[in-house]
Amino acid sequence: MGLAYRIEESATLVTYRDALWRTMHDALARDPSVIVMGQGVDDHKGIFGSTTGLATTFGATRVFDVPLAEDGMTGVALGAALGGLYPIQTHIRCDFALLAVNQLVNMVAKYRYMFGGRFRVPMLVRTVIGRSWGQGAQHSQSPQALFAHVPGLVVVLPSAADSITATYDALIGEKQVPVISFEHRLLYDVAFRAPASAPEWPLAPLGSILRRRGRDVTVVATSILVLEALRAAEHLARTAGIEVEVIDLHCASHPDREMILGSVARTGRLIVADTSWCAYGVAAEICRLVCEHDPSALRAPVTTIGMAPAPCPTAKTLEDLFYPSLRRLSDEIAALARGTRQHGIELPAEASMADVYKKFKGPF
């Protein structure tokens, strides 16, 4: 498995899950106002291991199970935030957060503005994007664009252990804004190399992250597609000398405009790879940014990559078609870099990404 960015041999390995558990643990230890609430946060599975044991350590008044009442519990979290707590609310699938759209969109997003800045809403909503093994239409959605569309909400999609640590540590108890995070289920088991020293790329908790430098094509990617873009970049660098610049969008609501426009100005070629549908989504929004600010930078039409425009099917044969593959991503990058679909560059073997991530445990 190719590694995209510089490996420090002395680095220790941290899984996405470990980073999540550590940020939850440390927030509870650091700040007595932090509470963790969600269905199953105190059970033996603990939100895929990200909250395991925390109820025992910190007590049931701070880490507690909730009724199956997503909208009500989001309203409770908002009220608790107004009352001086820092709530961390979990949804084991982000599809379930759709039950809380009224509180998130009508209340959480507006509580500060609508009342003339009299209130702050410090809270974190953790949701998990599901994928593979027949998750189907309602356990697989990735609705970051729905929420990023609404002024007042901050939306992040951590793609790696370092962005979880940097973002959650900086946010929890500190930032007085409501944040919705879209974690990716397939990443939980993946290990990342934690740099022994500070990373060379700037890691703004609420911005974008330059994951790889390259001169030929810019790929703006979200969540697990950042890793796929890095794998594709490594493959194309090795086999064809194509150098791909990979921007981890990370904060869908507040993308780093200068980083993206600067990169496109240098490469002239843009691919947006998002975990959701392209229409009206992150892909469309990044295209809007470029079209509004610097369309002349583009030397070729933009390519967008995301889920097929359908609900997610359950049959594996269809599911593998529904999601973009490493092969397809590599092919699109090669075509854009060479200016032709007949680029003749050897592509990675077609493989189910879900299978890859189930076996592949990193390190990245």
Partner: protein, 310 residues
């Protein structure tokens, strides 16, 4: 400084003040100086003043789009309310709220929502914070009978009862959701429903009497402060004006003038007008001052448009 013979007179004065404020709003509304939908509390004032009377500093109230009465009963500034209705920078929310989102956190009035039932779980969350932080404060969730049909109401009762939270669910039951009567909307009895969650429920048939409301809320507040878990109170009341706007819509057929007359026959602000007469001049002067303040206040600066978004 206004002085009162007793607590009842003090509450009647407050109710009268709210009524005169809203009547004045109705009077000036056709001039379009208020550019916001207004949902008047005329007829329901006694519930607000009775319910807020037993509250202490640190307690919190979450309201609805029909919150002029609760905002004022909590002690919110009349000048800032009027300026907010006028859309001025000196309003309680700097001109971003209008009538439907009044707020006065400095006196515990936490906010009001134009989406029915939406602040009920927020009140429960504030009660959770008070419980976990040990502040001893209680929270009042105010809503109408229509809100009890929303799923989030049931979710809120369940969670509050489960965690024995210090929150009082106060239903202002005027029997109407816009123009729909309860009989066409509800299969349940509000009191039985609340009791199904193990919540002690009380009914106040005389929502026109601020002392009756006060007595029930006082009792509930004591229980809440003692950690006895959430309470529910249903107050019967009556909305004199149309759902939104300043008109009287008793002529359009969904309710009868006789219903209104029956309620007005109990209304102490009408029955005891002579006794309350001595407060009228001061109230009128205060309202005139608030309107002058609002009219003279500046509009929000353009940079306020993108301030406090996130």
């Amino acid at each position: 400084m206004t002085t009162f013979a007793d607590e009842r007179e003090r509450l009647l004065y407050q109710a009268l003040r709210i009524r005169r404020v809203e009547e004045h709003i109705a009077r000036i509304y056709p001039s379009d100086c208020i550019q916001s939908p207004v949902h008047l509390s005329l007829g329901q004032e006694a519930v607000a003043v009775g319910a807020c009377a037993p509250l202490r500093a640190g307690d919190r109230v979450f309201g609805t789009y029909r919150s002029h009465a609760f905002y004022l009963a909590c002690g919110g500034s009349l000048r800032e309310m009027m300026a907010e209705l006028f859309g001025k920078a000196t309003g309680c929310a700097g001109g971003k709220a209008g009538s439907m989102h009044l707020t006065a956190p400095e006196v515990g009035f936490m906010g009001s929502s134009a989406v029915v039932a939406s602040t009920i779980p927020n009140a429960v969350g504030a009660a959770l914070a008070a419980q976990r932080l040990g502040t001893g404060a209680i929270t009042l969730a105010v809503f109408g009978d229509g809100a009890t049909e929303e799923g989030v109401y049931h979710e809120s009762l369940n969670f509050a009862a489960l965690h024995r939270l210090p929150v009082l669910f106060l239903c202002e039951n005027n029997g109407l959701a816009v123009h729909s009567h309860r009989a066409s909307r509800q299969s349940y009895d509000l009191m039985h429903h609340a009791r199904g969650f193990g919540i002690t429920a009380e009914h106040c048939a005389s929502g026109f009497d601020p002392m009756a409301v006060r007595a029930l809320v006082e009792m509930a507040a004591q229980a809440l402060r003692a950690g006895a878990g959430p309470r529910f109170i249903e107050c019967a009341t009556y909305r004199y004006a149309e759902h939104v706007g300043i008109g009287d819509d008793h002529d359009v057929g969904y309710r009868s003038p006789a219903d209104c007359a029956a309620w007005r026959a109990h209304d102490p602000l009408i029955l005891e007008a002579a006794r309350l007469e001595r407060f009228e001049a001061a109230i009128a002067a205060e309202i005139a001052d608030a309107v002058t303040f609002a009219a003279a206040s500046p509009w929000p600066e353009p940079d306020a448009l993108l301030r406090d978004v996130a």
